[in-house]
Symmetry: C2
Subunit: 693 residues, 2 copies
């Protein structure tokens, strides 16, 4: 296995940076992102993790912070740097020029100084066609070649030119060392076709496309077109628009170009990244209206100071040398932008979602995300184990959870709130056979293996999440886990998605599991291991007083090792009288039984996602007046009154209802089909917690 | 009295900065200097203090250090800023461009940010003709007007242009606030005619004149002339040389121009500062040989990369708008440079001189300077009181002194090592009459005023010093004090110079006092109050064992209040037997007598500087084998065995020999003439401590 090259992407949480990270990973590079998030959101990185199925180390560091940035160089073996980070609003730069110079120039200098110190000498710089200024002031400079004299007309452009000059001087000072690509962007537009990442400007957008998108989704009233009296096809100015995915690919092309240069040969060269084709404002307007199906209102107003007729790239140098050219036209860009805009009308900035950190420092990997934040029903979920950390009903917490990520990692874990996988519940003696091979899992529960044993998902950091607010009352958080076979006692590399959907109006939290394998089959059984306590406010140390009702009385009989005997039995205890619930006391009754949802079901299909949710357990506490209904697609469910609760909690401080496949199904011919996931299939399961109060 | 405008001068310890400070103070501005001293010396500031007769607050702060620089803005009411600070070696800038960009650009940004914060909005920037690059690439741009397109050809020039751009953008962002003068220097040469300040490049000089000066004084072998095949009068390139004093005056002109603009009107404008007259390399060479009287060896070598034929300023804009033009030609510049070079052949960087700080922080005002440092005879002197802090003979300290400046400021002072003034020794009842007016000093010694009473020089910070190494074995340190009448109980404003001259070969320390008054006469009597202990190594707590010999036995008789009775008496004690010295014991004999050097002298002249030094006292300690001879120009001397020593020292830990005018002379008609300094006269006195060991 060859070590992949690690690229430091500054500003990688931003618009162009995030799209470039996708292309880098698709091209076999590893990334590490540094971003101060002053004009971007960590959620773009969280989404990139799911989009690329890769963990992406992230540092919230300002490039001017030498020590903070040096830590990144110390912790990663950086091969090259793509430098996007910088303030970029032309108008703002004319108002606060010192801030622009300080941030953009110093940030770059500190970065280059650390590169020099750590012998990282490949650099791709995010410059801009702004460095040309008004190229129409020269004869024969449209389309604009790289040889066009430079002359920015605003502080933002001056910082770009200043950095270009620094790079040329740095190269000249050590010509056999530095490999520098200066990429002069024309007008990037569009979004990733996945709809997951796109441009998310804070405040009023400066650029045409984001502005139109905001008008189309109703955030702005109408589009202003600045002048229709230019000497163009329709009187509006001509610009060279380039799909952001094409632009991102230009970075890969330039990085590969630098990679291919001899080791002892330096270079510092500029390349235009543009399409070579100009579009007028009204042409782009038309393309966007067509893509969105919305006739956007617009108004022609006077020319804007500094605007010129035509700024189109001559991209021949990139075509010839980098073997790169644009492939996606304005209409595709408009289509992709519209997908992004409609699926994320408020970009990454969602009301009702907040995040804190499960670790002491701002370690973004250890993030706790709250969906429904500030509403009457909210769920907090950790990346670690895609764990339900907290669930609040009308402001009252109803589950057990910890404050810090590290508390979830104690060796005597009780799987508090965790996603359980690959295999929930017991496997007898930790043994199973699959495709003619015998497997032995580590024994971690009496004579059995329980909850996936070592390598259990509760202690793995999931990728993501993708956070969305698809309807007014609904919030979703989607996590992914790539559970490679080399990290597991189970066969096969598994890709798992855990999707939390919170409805603040109906007070329901749905948890959906889907999973796939690519090459080898694996046993699978997934559930959530939340411990509920419906009366934490008045009696947080015990579930006593909870009235619990289990819907079925059919249960799998188990022997003294808690291994199913193969028999189905009727549990002859009060709780199975559906006319009145069992009141849980301080000491008992103590349950740890696996029940059948429906004894007549044929529980052998792997994908139960489409199945109807069936109520399996209800619980109510009269003191808090909070009621819980647990439903599930799953054929069975474990009910556990927490009599062995540990790791900072008391016995019977919470109870668990764990819907899933039958206990030890992998070792029972009758049920085995329901827990073996083969390539080409999709595992599915869904659990719902519904509250009323 | 109008408050004078305070100008912050960054890089004020440097070549052009220091010359500008002189002109600022001559034009009625106050200055505060900030300099990181990375390429300059604090000694230029110390010399500026004496040259300008002003205290100049100094901060050793790097402009990139925001907090350090902010302190300056907090502690001073800054009116305007002249910004010289910056790295400036063209060749070095091509080797370490990041350092140049970081230092020059960031330093300027931090400065401007603080100016913005503290509403300081007048800025004069030290730019350079380097921003034009090769102006010969355009037709008709020689002489170079400000309108010439810019295009620096090296990182140094890029930083200057970068800062110009920042200034223009800053002005554009707040047009009614900023008043910015951008001064583009041509080739500054020469030095201040005083010979006290000049260019002091570290390492090999980059510029023609300092290089020639170093060849002339023997530090370099010969001059290299890069190319004599240009199309000029003599084949060598033409440059516009400008005397640094003219250049400094250009800053005053531009500052006054900014001062004269209406309050609510901004400006950002560039002015060339050049003579408009070009000189070839060989013309300057000839001028310097003529000025120095030395035919400097030179060699013609090939052209230097980047050099062009002619870079001469068009200075018309400055002439017209700033009413400024050069007044000093190349020959005057060469003459002044030669004076500087011969009087300071190693610039400010002298072997055998070191400095530490008498205060905890690096407060340059509280500096302790050691002359003869590292030699067999060395003296350490504080600015406070121009105090002799330490004197080492063959590595052994022979005087009492403190480690910290604050220790010299205890209320129960014993004047340890201090310069005593205005009036050493007692004035009966603190009373005297002068020009028909009666004066009453604060009584601080029994019924008398002693050693100048309150306002004594021992607690005043002197200006300077000027440190020199005029011959191989000689080091001098010259301090000045402007003792204004409003700070004194004495009449008249007094200007005092204290000059220490150390000869490491003869182990002599000469202390010379000179003083003048401008308007009103004053009583004056100055001495040094060092306590000697010739055996500190073995018996530092007592002078016991010292063999002391006082040369005269004529002494002034005093009454019970230690006031002279008017009689001269022979002191009938062993010490006055010149055949054998008196051995001092632990308890006695105790002396505190004023002796006559020569009873027949006529001690009524104010200026005794030219007088022969006469031996007054010898002292020897057999255990250390160190011998001291004290000589003086003065007519009398006090011998004191330290029986009331205080302030951290024991009685009889040191003895003092204090040459001076007669005790209470001001109140005795016979001697009064020797202690009244009138306008037009110069007071003079000299003391010598000579050691052998």
């Amino acid at each position: 296995m060859t070590t992949q090259k690690r690229v430091l992407v500054t500003g990688g949480a931003g618009y162009i940076g995030s799209h470039t990270v996708v292309e880098l990973i698709e091209n076999g590079y590893e990334c590490v992102i540094v971003d101060n998030l002053c004009n971007s959101s960590y959620d773009s990185v969280a989404r990139l993790e799911i989009l690329t199925k890769h963990h992406i180390p992230f540092y919230k560091v300002d490039l001017c912070d030498h020590d903070g940035l040096e830590k990144v160089f110390q912790e990663h073996n950086i091969d090259s740097v793509i430098h996007f980070a910088g303030l970029k609003a032309v108008g703002e730069s004319t108002q606060i020029p010192l801030t622009y110079y300080h941030n953009n120039i110093l940030g770059t200098l500190v970065l280059l100084e650390l590169m020099q110190k750590y012998h990282v000498e490949k650099f791709v710089f995010s410059s801009s066609a702004t460095v040309y200024g008004d190229a129409t002031r020269f004869p024969d400079m449209i389309p604009i070649p790289e040889e066009c004299p430079l002359g920015p007309t605003n502080p933002y452009g001056q910082t770009k030119l200043g950095i270009e000059n620094i790079l040329r001087d740095l190269y000249n000072s050590q010509k056999d060392i530095w490999k520098v690509a200066i990429l002069r962007y024309f007008n990037p537009i569009g979004a990733h076709p996945s709809g997951l990442i796109g441009e998310d400007p804070l405040g009023i957008p400066n650029n045409l496309l984001p502005y139109m998108a905001q008008v189309a989704v109703g955030r702005r009233e109408k589009l202003y077109v600045f002048g229709n009296d230019y000497d163009s096809r329709d009187g509006t100015p001509i610009r060279d628009y380039i799909h952001v995915v094409d632009l991102a690919k230009g970075h890969i092309a330039s990085l590969k170009y630098l990679d291919a240069i001899d080791q002892k040969t330096g270079i510092c060269r500029e390349w235009n990244l543009g399409s070579g084709t100009g579009s007028t404002v009204l042409e782009v307007y038309r393309a966007f209206c067509d893509a969105s199906g919305i006739e956007i209102p617009y108004e022609i107003t006077g020319r804007r100071a500094g605007d010129v007729l035509n700024l189109t790239a001559k991209p021949d140098r990139a075509t010839k040398e980098l073997k790169w050219k644009t492939e996606l036209d304005v209409s595709i860009a408009c289509k992709d932008l519209w997908k992004w805009a409609t699926e994320n009308p408020f970009g990454y900035q969602l009301n009702g979602i907040s995040a804190t950190f499960g670790t002491d420092e701002e370690e973004f990997d250890g993030r706790f995300v709250t969906i429904g934040s500030g509403s009457r029903f909210q769920a907090t979920i950790a990346n670690l184990g895609a764990t339900l950390v907290d669930l609040k009903v009308d402001g009252q917490s109803v589950v057990l959870g910890y404050e810090k990520e590290s508390q979830y990692l104690t060796p005597d874990t009780c799987y508090i709130g965790a996603t359980i996988g690959r295999y929930a519940n017991r496997i007898a003696h930790g043994k199973f056979a699959l495709n003619g091979k015998d497997y032995q899992l580590t024994i971690n529960n009496g004579v059995n293996a329980n909850h996936g044993s070592i390598g259990s998902f509760h202690a793995k950091r999931f990728l993501g999440p993708i956070l969305k607010n698809p309807t007014k009352d609904t919030f979703t958080a989607e996590y992914a886990l790539i559970d490679n076979s080399e990290d597991s006692e189970f066969p096969g590399s598994l890709q798992v998605i855990v999707n939390y959907t919170l409805n603040v109006a109906t007070k329901t939290l749905d948890i959906e599991y889907t999973a796939q394998v690519e090459v080898e089959a694996t046993p699978i059984n997934m559930t959530n291991h939340t411990y509920f306590n419906l009366n934490k406010l008045y009696g947080s140390d015990s579930i006593a007083g909870t009235e619990i009702k289990v819907i079925s009385n059919k249960s799998i009989d188990v022997d003294e090792n808690v291994i199913p005997t193969g028999k189905i039995v009727d549990r002859e205890i009060a709780t199975f009288d559906d006319s009145k619930p069992t009141v849980l006391g301080k000491e008992g009754p103590d349950y740890d039984y696996n029940f059948f949802v429906d004894a007549t079901a044929t529980p052998n299909q792997i994908d139960t996602r489409g199945n109807e949710l069936k109520l399996v357990t209800t619980a109510y506490h009269p003191e808090s007046n909070i009621k819980l209904e647990v439903s599930s697609t799953e054929p069975s469910y474990q009910v556990y009154t927490g009599d062995w609760l540990c790791a900072g909690f008391h016995p019977r401080q919470g109870f668990a209802v764990e819907p899933g496949r039958y206990v030890n199904a992998i070792n029972q011919d009758k049920y085995k089909g329901s827990v073996i996931l083969k390539p080409g299939e999709t595992f599915g399961a869904k659990i719902q917690y519904k509250f009323s109060a």
